[in-house]
C-alpha cells in the first residue's frame, strides 16, 4: 500500500516536471518568441495577440497550471496554424496512429512468440541461429530504411501494394492495402527487439527446476512452452509492448512520413515545422503522461502475471 502511494506521488511529480519543461520550450527561441514565430514584419497588435493566446508572459509553471486547467475541461487550446481546437486535430489523427500501432504490435507479437520459443527450445540450433542473424540484421536497419526497402520490393518491384498514402476504412480493401506496408515496417522493427528479449528470458526459464519437474511429468514441448514457460518469461516483453503504446503520440512519425499516413506523427512533425506550440505541447505532454501511466500500469500487470508479486504486495 505504501509503495503504491509513493509510486503515485512520484508519477505525479514526474508529470508536473514534464509539464513545466514542456511549457519552457518556447524560451529556447532567441528573443521574443512572438517575433521569432511571426517575423519582424508583424504588427505590435499581432505580436500582443500571439503572446496573449499562448499566455507567453506567464512563467512555465503558471502556463502548465493554465494548460492543466483547460485539459481537465477537455480544452487543449487552439492550433495556431488551422485555428481548430487541438482536441479536434488530435481526435482526427489519433485513431489512425492507434490502428497502426495496435496492428504493428500484434504482428510483432505474432512473430516474436513462436520464433522466440523455437529459438529458446534449442539454443544454438538451426532455427536459433537463423533467427539470431535475421534479428541482428533487422535491429541494424532503421525503420526508414526498412520502409523504403519494403516499398522498393512490394510497391515498385512487385507492384502489389500502394507505395504510400492512406485510405479511409469506408473502403475496407483499399484501407487494408494501405495498412500493410506501414504495419509490416513497425511490426518487423519491433519484433527484432522483442525476439531477443523473450528468447533470453525463455532460455532462463527453461533451465529452472520447475520446468525440469514439468518435463519429467511428461508434458509435451508445446504444452510446456505455452502453458508453463511463457508466462514467467514475459515480464520484459510486456513492459516493452506497454511502453510501445507511448508511441501513440507522435512516436510513429518516421513510419507515417515514409508512407504518408495522416496520423499523430505527421501532425507532430508539421506542428514542429510551423512552431504551432499548442499542438506541440499537447503531443509532448499526452505522450509523457501515457508513458508514465503505462509504466505504473505495467507494474500492476506484473501482479496478474506473477502471483509472487501479488503475494509480496499483500504483505
Amino acid at each position: 500500500m505504501r509503495t503504491l502511494l509513493t509510486r503515485a506521488v512520484r508519477a505525479l511529480a514526474v508529470i508536473a516536471l514534464l509539464g513545466m519543461l514542456t511549457m519552457a520550450l518556447p524560451l529556447l527561441l532567441t528573443g521574443d518568441p512572438a517575433v521569432a514565430v511571426l517575423g519582424v514584419e508583424a504588427t505590435p497588435e499581432q505580436l500582443a495577440a500571439f503572446t496573449a493566446a499562448l499566455n507567453l508572459d506567464a512563467s512555465p509553471p503558471e502556463r502548465f497550471a493554465h494548460w492543466l486547467g483547460g485539459a481537465v475541461r477537455g480544452d487543449l487550446g487552439t492550433s495556431l496554424v488551422t485555428g481548430a481546437p487541438v482536441t479536434a486535430e488530435i481526435g482526427e489523427r489519433l485513431p489512425v496512429t492507434l490502428e497502426l500501432l495496435l496492428c504493428g504490435q500484434l504482428l510483432a507479437l505474432a512473430i516474436t512468440v513462436p520464433v522466440a520459443m523455437r529459438s529458446a527450445w534449442r539454443p544454438g540450433g538451426v532455427v536459433d541461429r537463423i533467427s539470431t542473424v535475421l534479428a541482428y540484421l533487422l535491429l541494424s536497419t532503421p525503420a526508414f530504411v526498412l520502409g523504403l526497402a519494403l516499398i522498393l520490393v512490394l510497391a515498385v518491384g512487385l507492384a502489389v501494394l500502394p507505395a504510400t498514402g492512406w485510405a479511409a476504412p469506408d473502403d475496407p480493401v483499399e484501407h487494408l492495402r494501405h495498412l500493410v506496408l506501414p504495419v509490416l515496417t513497425m511490426g518487423l522493427t519491433e519484433a527484432a527487439v522483442l525476439v531477443r528479449v523473450l528468447r533470453a528470458d525463455l532460455i532462463a526459464t527453461l533451465r529452472t527446476p520447475y520446468i525440469l519437474a514439468a518435463r519429467s511429468r511428461g508434458l509435451s514441448p508445446w504444452r510446456l512452452l505455452w502453458t508453463r514457460a511463457l508466462r514467467p518469461s514475459s515480464f520484459s516483453t510486456v513492459t516493452l509492448v506497454g511502453l510501445g503504446l507511448g508511441l501513440a503520440f507522435g512516436g510513429s512519425v518516421l513510419v507515417e512520413t515514409i508512407f504518408a499516413v495522416p496520423g499523430m506523427g505527421r501532425l507532430a512533425a508539421s506542428a514542429i515545422e510551423a512552431r504551432d506550440f499548442p499542438v506541440i505541447e499537447a503531443v509532448v505532454l499526452l505522450s509523457g503522461v501515457t508513458v508514465v501511466l503505462v509504466g505504473t500500469l505495467v507494474d500492476l500487470v506484473y501482479g496478474v502475471i506473477d502471483p509472487r508479486a501479488r503475494h509480496a504486495a499483500a504483505h
Binding site: 527450445w121 534449442r122 539454443p123 544454438g124 527453461l206 533451465r207 529452472t208 527446476p209 520447475y210 520446468i211 525440469l212 519437474a213 514439468a214 518435463r215 519429467s216 511429468r217 511428461g218 508434458l219 502453458t227 508453463r228 508466462r231 514467467p232 502475471i305 506473477d306 502471483p307 509472487r308 503475494h311 509480496a312
Partner: protein, 320 residues
C-alpha cells in the same frame, strides 16, 4: 528371482560442452526391486542427482548427456530416452524452485496425468483434492486454487509429493526431498514418503547426503563417490559394518551414527577428483587413510556378505 523394477547396468554418463567433457557417472550398477526402498548416499557432486535424472529421462538445459551402459525399467531398455510410461516420478529437492510460481496448485498436481485421461473438470477437481488429502495438506479443496507462494515450505513439498504420486508410479525418486526444509519439518516429510510408499506398494530411491536419515527408513543403502557406487548392502549392515573407507568416513562425520564415540570430524578432508578426466584407479584414494599402491588401478568388486558388495582394494571379501 524376477527382474528388478529398475536396473542400472554399467551406466556411464558424460556431459560434452564447449569447455570439455565432464565424466559424471562411471559404470554404475544398481538395482531396485519392486516395492523395495533404497537409499543412495554421497557428497554433493558425487553424481547422485544426475543419476536420478538419468533414470527419470530428463536433464536441465538443452545439452543432452551421452550415455553408455543400460537403464532397464520393468525389464525394458529406456537408455535411449524412450518413454518411462509413467513408471517413475520424482520428488524434487527444493519445492520452492520446482513448483511453477505462476500455475495454480490444482493444475500442477495433475501435470503428470495426460490430458486424455483427465476427464471432466469435476473429476479433475476430485482427483487433485484426493491427492492433496493423501499428502496431508490441510483444507485440500480450497488449496487447489492457491499459488505455491501462498504455502509454507513443508506444504509446498507435500504438493511436490502429490504431483509425483499423480502418475501412480511404481518407482518414486526422492532427490534430497528435505534439504531445503526446516529441520522440524524434515522428519514429517520423510515419514509421509515412507507411509505413502508402503500404502501404495511403490519402490523408493531416496537420495541424500545424510547417512543418518536412512537408518530405519530404507531396506538398502548404496554409497556413491565421484560417479561410482563404492558400496551397496542392507541398511543395517552398511551402517554397522561399513566395508569401504569412504563409507566409514561418512559415518564418522554423521554424529548420530558414529560407531566410535569420538568427536565427529567436521568433514572428510580433501575434495572430489577432477571430473574432466575419466578416473583410472579408485577415485577416493587421494583422501583415503588406507590407500595402497594398487589403488592407482581400478578396484575389484567384492562380496562382503549377503547382498553386500564393496569396491575396494583394502576391503575383505570374495571377488564377484
Amino acid at each position: 528371482m524376477s527382474a528388478p523394477l529398475l536396473e542400472l547396468d554399467g551406466l556411464s554418463l558424460r556431459f560434452d560442452g564447449p569447455a570439455g567433457s565432464l565424466h559424471v557417472l562411471e559404470s554404475v550398477s544398481l538395482a531396485v526391486a519392486e516395492g523395495e526402498s533404497v537409499g543412495l548416499v554421497g557428497e554433493s557432486g558425487s553424481g547422485k542427482s544426475v543419476l536420478a535424472r538419468a533414470v527419470l529421462g530428463v536433464h536441465p538445459g538443452p545439452a543432452a548427456p551421452s550415455l553408455t551402459g543400460r537403464i532397464l525399467l520393468e525389464g525394458r531398455d529406456v537408455t535411449d530416452g524412450s518413454s518411462r510410461r509413467r513408471a517413475v516420478s520424482m520428488v524434487f529437492q527444493d519445492p520452492s524452485a520446482s513448483l511453477n510460481p505462476v500455475v495454480r496448485i490444482g493444475r500442477q498436481v495433475l501435470e503428470a496425468v495426460p490430458p486424455a485421461e483427465r476427464g471432466s473438470r469435476a473429476r479433475q477437481r476430485a482427483a487433485a483434492t484426493e491427492l492433496l488429502r493423501a499428502v496431508g495438506l490441510p483444507d485440500p479443496g480450497r488449496r487447489l486454487r492457491s499459488y505455491p507462494a501462498e504455502l509454507s515450505g513443508g506444504q509446498r513439498q507435500r504438493v511436490g509429493i502429490a504431483a509425483a504420486l499423480a502418475a501412480q508410479p511404481r518407482l518414486l525418486l526422492a532427490d534430497e526431498p528435505t534439504t531445503a526444509l526446516d529441520v522440524t519439518v524434515q522428519q514429517r516429510v520423510l515419514d509421509l514418503i515412507g507411509e505413502l510408499r508402503r500404502e501404495r506398494g511403490m519402490a523408493l530411491l531416496l537420495i541424500t547426503h545424510d547417512l543418518g536419515l536412512l537408518a530405519g527408513r530404507t531396506d538398502r543403502i548404496a554409497v556413491m563417490y565421484a560417479g561410482r557406487v563404492v558400496e551397496d548392502g542392507p541398511t543395517e549392515r552398511v551402517l554397522a559394518e561399513p566395508r569401504h573407507p569412504y563409507t566409514r568416513a561418512l559415518l564418522a562425520v554423521t554424529p548420530r551414527l558414529s560407531p566410535r564415540r569420538r568427536p565427529p570430524l567436521p568433514q572428510i578432508p580433501g575434495g572430489l577428483p577432477d571430473l574432466r578426466e575419466p578416473r583410472t584407479g579408485c577415485p577416493f584414494a587421494p583422501r583415503c587413510e588406507r590407500a595402497l599402491p594398487e589403488c592407482a588401478t581400478r578396484p575389484p568388486l567384492l562380496r562382503a556378505g549377503a547382498g553386500h558388495t564393496v569396491s575396494c582394494w583394502a576391503a575383505e571379501g570374495v571377488p564377484v
